[in-house]
């Protein structure tokens, strides 16, 4: 199996483990649809900023350790990063909580959540553009490969959107 495939499998395994832990943690909690939606929404609000910080710090170590030799470990890291990025993008673009019932998912994605998500997407777009401009300027002084450029632009865009969404959701959950 290729090194890239190992990375894809590692990324998918991480997603499955996180989903399984989340399911296991609320195993014996009978809840109504509204209670469950509120519980999940609250948990997401707490999780998003942490996820953004972990994602960004992972990128920092990725670039600091890149030798450019396309070693096996680097190839696996690239695929794992791609899987995580796609999952995070899906989480941003859809209602999320794909394993939950439709009523719960519909309720979680209510008016305020949609407004917060749209604002987060706006931030993601602006940060992606800012990163693209920064990379463009960088290429005037140094060599940047296409893959590195895409990596930087995607990472900044996704992390900014996730972080902004988390901040807005936490603020929304906070009582006055």
């Amino acid at each position: 199996m290729s090194d890239y495939m190992w990375g894809v499998l590692a990324g998918l395994a991480l997603v499955v483990v996180v989903a399984a832990i989340a399911k296991w943690r609320r195993r014996d909690k009978p809840m109504s649809v509204a209670e469950k939606a509120d519980y999940l929404s609250n948990r997401r609000a707490r999780m998003l900023p942490a996820l953004a910080v972990i994602f960004l710090s992972q990128q920092a170590t990725f670039f600091s350790q890149m030798s450019g030799q396309h070693l096996s470990a680097e190839k696996a890291k690239i695929s794992a990063w791609l899987v995580l990025s796609i999952v995070m993008l899906f989480g941003l673009a859809t209602k999320g909580f794909w394993l939950e019932r439709k009523e719960v998912r519909d309720l979680i994605d209510d008016e305020n959540t949609r407004a917060n998500r749209n604002e987060a997407m706006r931030w993601g777009f602006l940060f992606s553009m800012a990163a693209a401009i920064a990379v463009y300027i960088l290429t005037m002084f140094d060599t940047v490969t296409g893959r590195e450029a895409v990596h930087i632009v995607m990472s900044f865009g996704i992390a900014a959107a996730i972080l902004r969404w988390g901040v807005l959701e936490r603020r929304a959950h906070r009582d006055a």
């Binding site: 509204a34 309720l107 209510d110 008016e111 305020n112 959540t113 407004a115 929304a172 009582d175």
Partner: protein
């Protein structure tokens, strides 16, 4: 001075003895959305404003007004 949408959601909810969660369930949103509208953090759509007014047995104008 900027305009903002003020409301008496909290006051009216208290009069009817409803919690945020109960009001949220009546209008089909999460408690978070009721909380943000109540605190003036989020401006609801016309649809949600009407649903909130109906649930609290008031007209939209009685529930919401513009503060300058």
């Amino acid at each position: 001075m900027p305009e903002r949408l003020a409301n008496k959601l909290k006051e009216r909810r208290g009069e009817l003895g409803l919690t945020q969660a109960e009001l949220a369930e009546r209008v089909g949103v999460t408690r978070k959305t009721v909380n943000t509208v109540e605190n003036g953090v989020f401006t609801p759509s016309a649809m949600l404003a009407i649903k909130l007014a109906q649930a609290l047995e008031l007209s939209v104008e009685q529930l919401f007004w513009i503060e300058r």
